[in-house]
């Protein structure tokens, strides 16, 4: 075929030349078109790459880089001396995110060989992860050990969706002592997130972010929170992190430091002396209202709330009859009992009743168609001795003589029934009743009956107050001249909060208040709390007033007077006081819920707290340690600076042979 096909060429010259000419012209055109096309591409390139390049550079950078929110370190909370009450510690976290090619169940199965994850927890987490938005990490484990953390981190590249990183977790070094005041932080709930305002911040969705749920942590959440930072990371088209660019990071602004007026030693001592007893203690500097101790017992470990309580743990706390979750210093109100007699006495003095007027106590007193009891036969009592012995019969009659409205007026001047702005929420005002109250709240029986006054005279009846109020009352009695307000927050981020000292004088004659104080000194010398006035601190003495408040009516013999019988039916034990008597520094109120006698349950605890408060005060300490004036003291032993002699060294004498170890 080849031979014959190729042997005879057929060439038509004229035709060929004509076709060739047409082809050449048109091929030239084709080349021209191609050239124009390529030039057009070049022009387009010039436009994109030379003219618009900045716009595309920005778009490229916004593709390439993402900013990842970094939660700010939460502000530290310290006591008046700088002791840390709440801070942050490193936390090794394990998180798993849903993503393309990630099987949550299988991933958790692998992880369970590194960290303890039982099947039930795995199943629950797998559900959480598949419900979470894509690439939103779900916390699988907090507080891993360094070994667990490093083991997982080494294998992380083979485990898509798994991240192990170091975050911060809140820590409360004193555990339960401050749980009610400081509160705690916890994971953000759906209900915490608001459409506007500070709680709409995207940081709220960060798995490592915590929000204040109680106490100072809640009230000053925004101050403690700080400003989130951002980590500049390079991401690929699927949103996976490729690398980070530390130079482009925006540092987080740590939260503000909050300084409280609390004293860690007094507060801790309160927790010790309360043990598993239920109650509250408030200690206050009666010169300026600084709260040294605001304790409610029994308490709970706030650190457990940060980690997240199990259902069983929570219900155990919630169901316990001594109510550990409740801040009894602020939220619970109790009848003040005999501590209220200080107010009745002052009201009597202020109404012009002679303090030397006497009443006879025979253990019972018939008036108004019923018999009013006293716990002892006190015999003839004047106001001074009636406060000291806490004679009910005297105060039944004094209250009747003064009337409820006057008593209420005086009590309110001392802060009873009032809510103080101490920065944290949860205060219950309680009640100081008067005739208007009766009229307002009892439409069926709007009249104050005379029979209701004797009860009020001994701090029972409608009267119920919270421990903070009683501490304010004790403080105002102690400093005598001026009203003061309690203060809990000393400073926020270095800015001092207004002092509680700057309030007006009390509208009472100084000699009347001095009279009450003298009677309170008698209480702890010869009276109901005679055993506890001596603090064992040199010449410092504590004045005070006990109170034993009925928690239940004794009708039908169900009540338990004193520290016997069923716990829930026992009396509440109160003590309010201040020290030193001659120059008051600290005032306190102690409530032991269902503690029985005020003198037996509350006064000894009050004494311990007062001792710590006084010992921590350098001026008081100087006074305590001041050597007793010894006539034979040679002047050479005195230091030049006039400070007291340092105590004799306790260290063993090195010259003595040591006992064999």
């Amino acid at each position: 075929m080849k031979a014959e096909g190729l042997a005879e060429p057929h060439i038509f010259f004229a035709e060929v030349n004509e076709r060739q000419g047409v082809f050449h012209r048109r091929a030239f055109l084709l080349g021209g078109f191609a050239g124009v096309g390529i030039l057009a591409l070049g022009g387009r390139l010039a436009h994109l790459q030379l003219v618009d390049t900045q716009r595309y550079e920005k778009l490229s950078a916004s593709n390439q880089f993402n900013f990842k929110l970094v939660p700010p370190p939460r502000g530290i909370i310290v006591d008046r001396n700088g002791a840390v009450l709440a801070s942050n510690r490193p936390n090794f976290r394990l998180m798993v995110a849903r993503d393309k090619g990630v099987d949550p169940a299988a991933t958790l199965k692998i992880l369970s060989s590194f960290v303890p994850l039982d099947d039930q927890r795995q199943a629950r987490l797998a559900k959480d992860i598949s419900r979470a938005p894509k690439r939103a990490p779900v916390s699988v484990m907090e507080d891993m050990s360094w070994e667990q953390f490093s083991a997982i981190n080494i294998r992380a590249p083979e485990l898509p969706g798994v991240t192990a990183d170091m975050g911060e977790v809140r820590v409360y070094p004193y555990g339960g002592a401050f749980a009610h005041v400081i509160g705690y932080v916890a994971k953000v709930n759906k209900t915490d997130i608001k459409p506007t305002g500070p709680n709409s911040d995207p940081i709220m969705l960060h798995p490592g972010f915590r929000i204040g749920k109680q106490g100072v942590e809640k009230a000053f959440d925004l101050e403690l929170r700080g400003k989130p930072g951002a980590q500049k990371v390079e991401v690929d088209a699927n949103g996976h992190e490729v690398s980070s660019d530390p130079a482009g990071d925006i540092p987080a602004v740590p939260g503000k430091l909050i300084e409280l007026t609390l004293d860690v030693d007094v507060q801790n001592r309160a927790m010790e002396v309360f043990g598993d007893q239920s109650g509250a203690a408030v200690v206050m500097d009666c010169r300026n209202g600084d709260i040294l101790c605001l304790f409610s017992g029994p308490s709970f470990d706030a650190n457990r709330f940060v980690r997240g309580l199990t259902g069983a743990e929570y219900s155990a706390l919630a169901r316990y009859e001594r109510k550990p979750l409740f801040n009894k210093a602020l939220t619970a109100t109790y009848p003040p009992g005999s501590t209220f007699k200080t107010m009745v006495a002052l009201a009597a003095l202020d109404s012009g009743i002679d303090p030397q007027q006497t009443h006879v106590c025979a253990g019972a007193w018939a008036w108004g168609g019923r018999v009013w009891h006293c716990d002892k036969h006190h015999g003839v009592q004047n106001m001074h001795s009636a406060i000291s012995t806490s004679c009910d019969i005297f105060f039944y009659q004094t209250a009747l003589a003064v009337g409820p409205d006057k008593i209420a007026e005086v009590a309110r001047k001392f802060g009873l029934g009032e809510i103080f702005d101490i920065g944290i929420p949860g205060q219950k005002p309680g009640l100081v009743p008067d005739k208007a109250y009766k009229k307002r709240n009892f439409p069926k029986d709007p009249v104050w009956h005379p029979g209701e006054t004797p009860s009020m005279g001994i701090g029972q009846g409608y009267t119920h107050l919270n421990p903070l109020q009683l501490c304010v009352q004790a403080s105002r009695l102690a400093n005598g001249r001026k009203a003061l307000h309690p203060r809990l927050i000393r400073s926020i981020g270095g800015a001092a909060q207004p002092s509680g000292a700057a309030f007006g004088d009390l509208p009472f004659k100084p000699e009347h208040i001095d009279f009450i104080r003298a009677a309170m000194a008698e209480v702890t010398t010869t009276g109901t709390a005679a055993a506890f006035g001596d603090l064992g601190l040199g010449d410092l003495r504590m004045a005070g007033k006990t109170g034993t408040a009925q928690a239940y009516t004794y009708k039908g013999g169900v009540g338990a007077h004193g520290a016997v019988g069923e716990w829930k039916l026992r009396d509440h034990a109160w003590f309010i006081g201040f020290a030193p008597y001659d120059n008051p520094r600290y005032a306190l109120s102690v409530l032991v819920e269902h503690g029985g006698w005020g003198a037996g349950a509350a006064a000894p605890r009050a004494r311990e707290l007062m001792r710590v408060a006084l010992l921590k005060d350098p001026e008081m300490r100087a006074r305590i340690e001041k050597p007793l004036p010894m006539p034979a003291l040679p002047p050479a032993a005195q230091d030049d600076d006039g400070l007291p002699e340092p105590p004799t060294p306790i260290a063993p004498d090195p010259t003595q042979p040591r006992p064999a170890a």
Binding site: P9, F12, R19, F23, R26, I38, L45, T53, Y56, N63
Partner: protein, 384 residues
């Protein structure tokens, strides 16, 4: 060797002479483009020879050898093979329609043992050869305007219809345009050309409305307004433009193109490799590559001028037209001037099929050059 020596009978058929007649500068230009492709494929694989750069180079080496072998084949054998190749391509297109492999909603491949065959690629060269052969035997007058023109019309439209049915609109259009260019180069009357252009302009809207698949229509609408759906269908075009634009004058540096390295750029190793190059080497790199392409086109087109046979002229010009269309369509696509149609940048993009087509085509072009003085029969009276 003197000129007179070349005129000696049989002298031109010597292998050494033939090899000397190959345009080695043209071959070098092809190597430069393929080499640039390998360099980019190495970069986007994260500085790795696998999975793309090494196969790309090995394939190119093999196809380059094939091209040289094809260049040495007598043009009369090419002429004789024209109709059989076209016929084979046509049969395979029908076969693909019946038993072809379905990929991404389109039947484009035939699996024969380990080899996948894309008949539309055979048709690209086959059609050029068949048309060149037909026009070789047709007078200039008939080529201008005659009933004979129905033959090339059917030769073009039949495979175009089959490829469009696969559906592979991009390739169908490419075949149609290549065929059209050969017909025009052969001397079609300007009136007919004008009528054709006019009818196409009238036909386009109804075809878009009724004759297209949804995804094809969507590609077209997003081309017209890419920012309307930046994360959806407009994504390809937008990301490609970002890659190009952010490259600037000198580029982000080799291996530092964030658009391609971080996978923002889709199909970065195939259809959008030019964007990768633009991002990493900038305007300077792009213009250099475009200059190489222009050089290839003009050298190939010049070869068609040298040919003494009408078959050689048309075949060389047809292949050149195919190549130029590849470059222009892919360039327009990555620069946001044309809708996304799966047309790669020849020799630069990863992928064996198109590279084989192009290199076989250039084998034909080189054969035209080597055998430019060959006298080719009209083909009448010969079966092949």
């Amino acid at each position: 060797m003197t000129v007179s020596a070349l005129t000696r009978p049989g002298e031109r058929d010597r292998l050494v002479v033939k090899i000397g007649e190959i345009d080695w500068i043209f071959c070098l230009t092809l190597c430069l483009i393929a080499g640039a492709g390998a360099v980019m494929l190495f970069s986007i694989a994260g500085s790795s020879w696998t999975p793309w750069a090494l196969p790309h180079l090995m394939r190119f080496g093999l196809f380059f050898a094939i091209m040289i072998v094809l260049a040495l084949i007598d043009l009369r054998v090419w002429f004789a093979m024209a109709y059989p190749v076209y016929g084979l391509g046509f049969l395979l297109l029908i076969a693909v329609d019946l038993v072809g492999h379905n990929a991404l909603g389109a039947q484009r491949w035939l699996q024969v043992g380990p080899i996948t065959i894309q008949p539309s690629e055979i048709m690209k060269v086959g059609l050029v050869m068949a048309l060149a052969r037909f026009y070789h035997g047709l007078s200039g007058k008939s080529a201008q305007l005659s009933w004979w023109l129905l033959v090339p019309a059917v030769m073009i439209l039949a495979p175009v219809a089959l490829v469009a049915k696969e559906p592979d609109l991009g390739t169908a259009l490419l075949i149609l345009m290549t065929g059209g260019i050969v017909v025009i180069l052969a001397g079609l009357s300007w009136r007919l050309i004008a009528a054709g252009v006019l009818s196409v302009a009238l036909l386009v809207p109804p075809v878009i409305m009724f004759g297209m698949h949804d995804y094809q229509r969507q590609r077209l609408t997003t081309f017209l307004d890419p920012e309307s759906d930046p994360s959806g269908s407009g994504y390809h075009i937008l990301q490609s433009k970002i890659a190009l634009g952010s490259g600037g004058l000198l580029g982000k540096g080799y291996g530092l193109g964030s658009q391609s390295q971080l996978n923002f750029l889709p199909e970065k190793q195939t259809d959008f490799i030019f964007s990768t190059l633009a991002e990493e080497f900038g305007f300077v790199g792009c213009v250099s590559i475009l200059a190489l392409y222009a050089a290839v086109i003009f050298m190939a087109l010049r070869t068609s001028y040298l040919s003494h046979s009408h078959f050689g002229r048309l075949a060389a010009a047809g292949v050149t037209a195919t190549f130029a269309l590849y470059v222009l369509i892919n360039g327009s696509m990555v620069m946001g001037l044309a809708p996304v149609v799966g047309v790669p940048m020849p020799l630069l993009s990863y992928g064996g099929t198109v590279m084989l087509t192009v290199m076989v085509g250039f084998g034909l072009v080189m054969a035209v050059r080597v055998h430019r003085y060959s006298e080719v029969t009209s083909g009448k009276g010969s079966l092949l």
